[in-house]
Each structure stands twice: as structure tokens, then as C-alpha cells.
Amino acid sequence: MWRFIHKWGSPKWFYTTTGPWLPWLWAAAAILILAGSVWGLAIAPPDRFQHDAARILYVHVPSAILAQACFAAMALASAIFLVWKIKIADMAAAAIAPFGASMTFAALFSGAVWGIPTWGTWWVWDARLTSMLILLFIYFGIIALRSAFASRDSGSRAAAILTLVGVINLPVIKYSVVWWNTLHQPATFSLTKAPAMPASMWLPLLVMVLGFFLFFTALVIARVRTELLRRESRSRWVRALVEGDAGGKRE
């Protein structure tokens, strides 16, 4: 266990180990997203009531799942960084935040586009929409706080503390918003009680969700690797790597 953590905390080990994974991750993500898109947008049957408008599901649901999973991952990375001071965890948290924010935005945007044909409006103050909007603001706050500090270490720790505060607050926000909405009006649109989907519809959805997750993993690893090179640019192994590349002596 401890050796495992130490290994992952070592920049050099991380860089050299994850390098060979990346092409596979990118390829798998691309294949799954492509296959899921074609399957979901062209092959899967249209919805009985919403017809082709329901196909936006294949973008909306994966991005919404990722938006929340990203926050969980970021909170985990922040906790690891605060407790063990492992810098790679901080780099991962920094890399996840903008991706999570963009996924939240994608979920909100695709939801708004979906709302036009089905609900007849872009926006309702539905519980889920509201809590996603607040999630987006929290992402913005974390990103802004990290960049507001002159010293990188202070920014990292501040962002980590705020992430942990946010992750404790998120369930409270979510449930309070649900209650707030049901207090004032009966739920006009129930997103939770979706009609049981046939396999021809949820299988492509599953493929898309997996594709999004692989894309997320590949992107975060790639960004952490870049950040690693930037932060460790003075260390010997990075110099050796760069000079080796420049001299054309790649293995």
C-alpha cells in the first residue's frame, strides 16, 4: 500500500509509466465515442414520444455524469494532496477542474437545447438544472481561486480546501434544491422516473458514458504529464529526456 502510494507520487515513475498507456487510452476513447455516436444518433430507435429529439440523451447524460464524477475525483485528489502533499494529486486536481466545468456547461447547454422541443422552454428552475448551475459556479470559484494566488503552492492548497468544502456542501445543495422545488410546485417534469429504456437505447448510452470516461482519463493524464514537465523542468531526468529527444536518441 505505502509503496504503491510512493510510486504514484514519484514524478519520474508517473511520467515513464503512463507514457505507453496514452495512445491506447486515446484510441479506445475515440473508438467508443465514435461508435456510441453513430449507434445512438443513427441506429438506435427514435423515442416513441420525443422522436429524434431524444437522441440528445447520448450527449447529455454522459456529460452530466462526468460533471459530477469530475468533482468527486477532484475532491479525492485534493484530499490526497492536503494529507500526503503529493504534488501529482494537485496537478490532477488542477487538470480536472476546467474539464469538469466544461462538462457541466455541456450538460446544461445540451439540456437547454433538449428543453426546446420537449418542454417548450430553454430553462426551468427545475431542481436538477439549478443544482447543476450551482455546481458550475463552484467549479468557476475553484478555478478562479487557484489562479488568484501569486505563489503556486498557496493557490493549490486554497483550491484544495475549497474543493473539500464544496464536496461536503454539494449533497446539501442538491437535496435542498430538490426540496425547494417540490415545496413550491408539484414537479412538472420528472427526470428521475425515466421510462424503462430498451436495450437498443441504453447500450449505446453505456458505450458513450464509457467513452467519455476514457476521454477524461486520457486528457487528465496528458495534462498532468505536461504540467509535470513544466514543474520539474530543472530536474535531471527531465533534462535528460528533453536533450535525448533533441539529439534524436529516442529509444
Binding site: I134, F137, I138, F140, G141, A144, L145, A148, F149, A150, S151, D153, S154, R157, A158, I161, L162, L164, V165, G166, I168, N169, V172, I173, S176, V177, W179, W180, L183
Partner: protein
């Protein structure tokens, strides 16, 4: 100079009381700062009838929500001063260096902050409720929800204030950090005040506000202390 051993002889209770006393006397000696949130609250409440029209029926129906939002913004406005002066003159460093747990000293500061902003606002809120045509029998609900909720607001806001105290221009960032975290308190506080207007018993809502306050009491001072440490170090 006293050794850490000597200073630790000051009991926790005395240290807590000393910080509380210092905060309160500092705040009461600078009356213009004390009046700041109240004036902001009063001015905002004055703006609502100008924007919405003077119809008492409309204003009365919206009053709980409007007063809650105005009070929330007034608390937000006062947050920047929570640690600013202590950060500038070095008192904060002494607090962090003291042998007492920082979280408890922070709690004393937050209690003082609540006493001069949230508590005062909730005491004056019925007055402004009357100006917004809120029926008199619902004043107590408004005051009770504001008093309970604003304590949570002060506790959560202290985290944001501690994170931004080392920054030169922290004002906008502070609202970006704190406002999303304020939403549950606003929902239940304003919701309870609104329900009272509709004639529903608000016991459960008050209990939930109390539960949020309890959770914030337990967790927020530690997060604030950690944030203060990094702000002072950075």
C-alpha cells in the same frame, strides 16, 4: 517573552472569552463599520419597492424572499472585514502562533461577527418587513429564520474570507466562492419565512436550519483555520 508552556497556562475558556471581548469592543468602537451592513440592508430594501412598484399585495407576498436576499448580501458585504484588519496589523499571525486551538479562536471571531451583523439584521428585519407590507404576525418567523440562518452564513463566509484575506483584490472572488455555498441556507431560510406567510407551521424548517448551523459549527472553523494558515504563510 513567554515560553509556549507558560502561555498554554491560559485556559481555553479565557482565551476564547478574550478574543470574543476584543472583537466586540473593536467593532463597537468603530461605529461606522458597525452600521455598514445595516445601511446596506436598508438601502437595498428601499430599492425593491422602487423596482417592483409600491403595491402592498405584491410587496407583501415577496417580502420574505426579498428581505432574505438583502440580508444575505449584507452579510456577504461584511465578510471582507472579518479578518482584513487583523491580517494587516499582524494580529492574525499571533492568533495562529498561540498555544490555543486556532479553530476555537476563529469561532470566537465568527460569533462576534454574527452578533454585530446577522443578529442585528434579524432584529431590525421586522421593521423593514413592515415597510414591505409584511403582516405583523409573521415578523417573528422572519426574525427567527434570519437569526438562525445568518449564523450559518457567517460560519461558511469565514472560510471564504480566510481564503481571500491574503489577496489584494479579493472582493469579487469572495462572492464567487461564498454565494454558491449559501444557496441551501437561503432556500430553507427564505422558504420557511414564506411558508409562515402561507400559514404553515415552520418547525421542521427551523430544525433543518439548526441542523445546518450545527454542521457548520463543527466543520467550518477547522476549514477556516486551515485557510488562515495558508493565507498568512503565502
Amino acid at each position: 517573552m513567554s515560553s509556549p508552556l507558560e502561555s498554554s497556562r491560559v485556559s481555553l475558556r479565557r482565551a476564547f472569552a478574550a478574543v470574543l471581548k476584543r472583537e466586540l469592543s473593536l467593532r463597537f468602537r468603530r461605529r461606522q463599520d458597525l452600521a455598514g451592513p445595516m445601511l446596506f440592508f436598508a438601502l437595498t430594501v428601499t430599492l425593491f419597492p422602487l423596482g417592483l412598484g409600491p403595491d402592498p399585495a405584491v410587496l407583501g407576498a415577496l417580502a420574505p424572499g426579498l428581505l432574505w436576499v438583502a440580508a444575505l448580501l449584507a452579510v456577504l458585504l461584511s465578510l471582507d472585514g472579518l479578518f482584513r484588519a487583523d491580517y494587516d496589523d499582524g494580529t492574525l499571525e499571533q492568533l495562529l502562533l498561540s498555544a490555543q486551538p486556532v479553530a476555537l479562536l476563529v469561532l470566537a471571531k465568527v460569533i462576534a461577527h454574527w452578533a454585530v451583523t446577522g443578529l442585528v439584521l434579524s432584529l431590525f428585519a421586522p421593521l423593514f418587513g413592515a415597510m414591505l407590507a409584511l403582516p405583523a404576525q409573521h415578523w417573528w418567523a422572519l426574525a427567527a429564520t434570519l437569526a438562525l440562518g445568518s449564523a450559518t452564513l457567517s460560519l461558511i463566509g469565514a472560510i471564504g474570507a480566510a481564503l481571500t484575506v491574503g489577496l489584494k483584490r479579493g472582493g469579487v472572488l469572495l462572492s464567487l466562492l461564498v454565494l454558491p455555498l449559501y444557496t441551501p441556507v437561503l432556500i430553507f431560510g427564505a422558504g420557511a419565512a414564506q411558508l409562515a406567510l402561507e400559514g404553515v407551521a415552520i418547525g421542521p424548517q427551523l430544525a433543518l436550519l439548526g441542523a445546518m448551523l450545527a454542521a457548520a459549527l463543527g466543520l467550518a472553523p477547522w476549514a477556516t483555520a486551515a485557510a488562515l494558515r495558508l493565507s498568512v504563510a503565502g
